[in-house]
Structures are given as C-alpha cells and as structure tokens.
Symmetry: C2
Subunit: 208 residues, 2 copies
C-alpha cells in the first residue's frame, strides 16, 4: 500500500504522530503536519476538530501500544527470573524500534499529568491490576522462599523499567559525554544492555 492509497485519516495520523513525537505538543505545528501529510491544513480540522483532539488521539494510541506490552510478560506464569529476563530483553527491543516514544510520553505526562486520569480507567488501571499486582505477588513469594533478597516490589519494578528506559531518554548525554558523540559506540552500548541489564538485576536480587 503506497502513501497515496492510504486513507486520508491514516495519512494525517501518521504525519501528526511524527510531528508530535519529534517536537512535543507545544512545538508541533498544524501547518507542518499538513505539509508532512501532503494535504491542506483545513483538512486536519475536518478530520480532527482541534490540535488538542488530534494530539489526544495520538497520545492515546501510542500509550496504549506501549504500556500493555508490559503486561504480556508480567502476567505470565513463568518463574520470576524468567519473567524478568524476557521482559527486559523484549522491552528494550521494543524501545529500540521506537526510541523517541519514552521521552515523548514522559514529557507530555509531566507537562500535563491529568492526561493519565483520562487513560486510567482503561489502560493504566489494567496495567496495575493485571500486571503489577501479579508481579508483586511473585516477588513476595520468592522473598518468602528465600530465593531473592527482601525488596519492595515497587522499588524493583521501577528499577527494572528505569534501567530499560533511561538510556533512551538520556541519549544525548550518554552518547555525547560518555561516547564522545560516537553513534556506533552508543548503539553497541544499547545492544549489550539487553543482556547486561538482566544480569545486573538478577545479581542485585538473587540470594547466592
């Protein structure tokens, strides 16, 4: 399917997604979105009445694609270590395919935290109930069994997700300061992380 054959709505949606992710809500320009979609600006408003509504549509979709991936793994019945290992590798891989999404989501959420409330009934709530509480139980079980060191599940999950996401949000500094701006070194660094973060986490919690 070529660009021409796509529905206008998709054309707009994709153009807007690029523009918003690249520049954020405040930096994005309706005219630029129209240009990227090769259509008239008025058509944007014909399909998505306002900039806010267009943004909301995109933020919703991006968020809904990104968050539930956490679930797939978290709610599996595999042993905790396996869960963690699979999660980290697949999550880093997912972000590598969409490296600007974390920065986008977190920035917009910081600028307007209320946005979460709108998603809460749907996605965020589900993530917590089905994902986190299930994970939380598994962690506490392992602690009781003595296979992992005592740790609050909240701390552990933030550590895991933080270690996956931070290298992408912090890319300019990491690549710039640590790797002297060398993109290749940074890419290798990322590639290694899939295994390294897993090792690091397991090491941190396993009782040896």
């Amino acid at each position: 399917m070529t660009e021409q054959e796509k529905s206008t709505e998709d054309l707009i949606f994709n153009a807007a997604r690029e523009e918003f992710i690249e520049k954020g809500f405040d930096g994005a320009r309706m005219q630029e979105i129209a240009k990227r979609a090769s259509i008239n600006k008025a058509l944007l408003h014909y399909y998505f009445r306002t900039k806010e509504k267009l943004f909301d549509a995109i933020f919703d979709k991006v968020f809904k694609i990104f968050m539930p991936k956490v679930l797939d793994v978290m709610q599996s019945d595999a042993p905790l270590f396996t869960k963690i290992e699979v999660f980290i590798e697949s999550y880093i891989r997912l972000i590598m395919e969409n490296p600007h999404i974390p920065s986008f989501i977190l920035h917009e959420l910081n600028r307007n935290p209320d946005r979460l409330v709108g998603l809460f009934g749907n996605v965020a709530g589900i993530v917590k109930e089905k994902g986190f509480s299930r994970f939380s139980e598994a962690v506490n079980e392992e602690i009781k069994k003595g296979t992992i060191v005592p740790i609050q599940p909240e701390q552990l999950i933030v550590n895991i997700i933080g270690l996956c996401i931070f290298p992408f949000i912090g890319r300019p500094i990491i690549q710039g300061v640590i790797f002297n701006g060398d993109k290749l070194q940074y890419d290798n660094f990322l590639e290694s992380r899939k295994k390294e973060v897993t090792k690091f986490i397991i090491n941190a919690i396993a009782v040896k």
Copy 2:
C-alpha cells in the same frame, strides 16, 4: 533580601527559570515571564535580547549546577563502594530539592541535542575527563582485584544515574499507576530509595 531589592536581572532570571522549567522552551511565554517578574515585557528584551538567549542563559546555569555535583564525589579517593554510596544519596537528595530539573534538561537536550556541543568544551568535557574516567579506572581496578563482578564502567554509571533520575522523570506514571495517585506514598517511596538504590547497586556488583 526581598523580591524588591533583588536586581532586575535576577528577578527576570528567576521568573524565566520557573517558566521554562515548567513549560519547556516551546511552551514558555515571554509575557508570562514578565508577569512572573512583575515587569514590562520590553524589559526582558532589554536585558536578554531574545527568548533564545534568555533560555540559553538559564539552561547553561541549570546544567552547570547539576552536572558538576557528579564530580565532587566521583573524583574523591574513597573506596568505590563508598563513592557509589555517597554519590547516590547526595544525588537523590539534590534532585529531591529540584525535582523538575532532570525532566527539563533531558527534554530540551532531546529536542535540540546540539545544545550539548555548546556546553561540551566547558562542563560536559570536564565531567567526562575528571569524573567518568576516574570512576572508570576505579571500577576496572576492583574488577581486577575480584571484589566486583565484571562490568563495563559505562553500563554501571548509566545504571547508577538512571536509577537515581528515573523516579523523578517517571513521577506521573509511578505515582499515578503504582501508588494510585497518592503523593504521600510516592514521597515515602522516594525517601526509601536513597538507601534502597545503594543496596541494589552494591548487591548487583559485589562478589560475595
């Protein structure tokens, strides 16, 4: 010294810092900065010709205050574990006093990575030379001694900084999803982290 007695330049600077940190460059408004500083908008341009120049002045200062704190600890001669412990506790404490700075710096750097280049000769370069390479040596020594597990210093430093910073960048999600929006729980969570992250890191790398 009351607000009135401060120099006009400081008044503008502080007002602008608040506005930029809260809304980012794109979302900030010169009129709003003037209002916050209780002065005429033209006076902004009298002191700092353009929005860009005003922003640059602020970004520079914020960046220069935040980055070198990393140095103080990193270049000390204390044992690695002590270094790490002191760094994590003081860094998390520092961010707790300025919780929006990391999000601000990282967002603006992602929007315009070239900004780093301007700072590179000064701050960033120093951080790397005096801070990171010193830390890097210390890590490699401990590995050789067999006191810590083999790990690339680059991975370790990103892990340490990521674990310190991420809870602040990800606040809306953490507080919203994990703690059901309860600010108190989130604050306790942060407070615990000063000890928890240290334990976690040491556990992850120490050979037992």
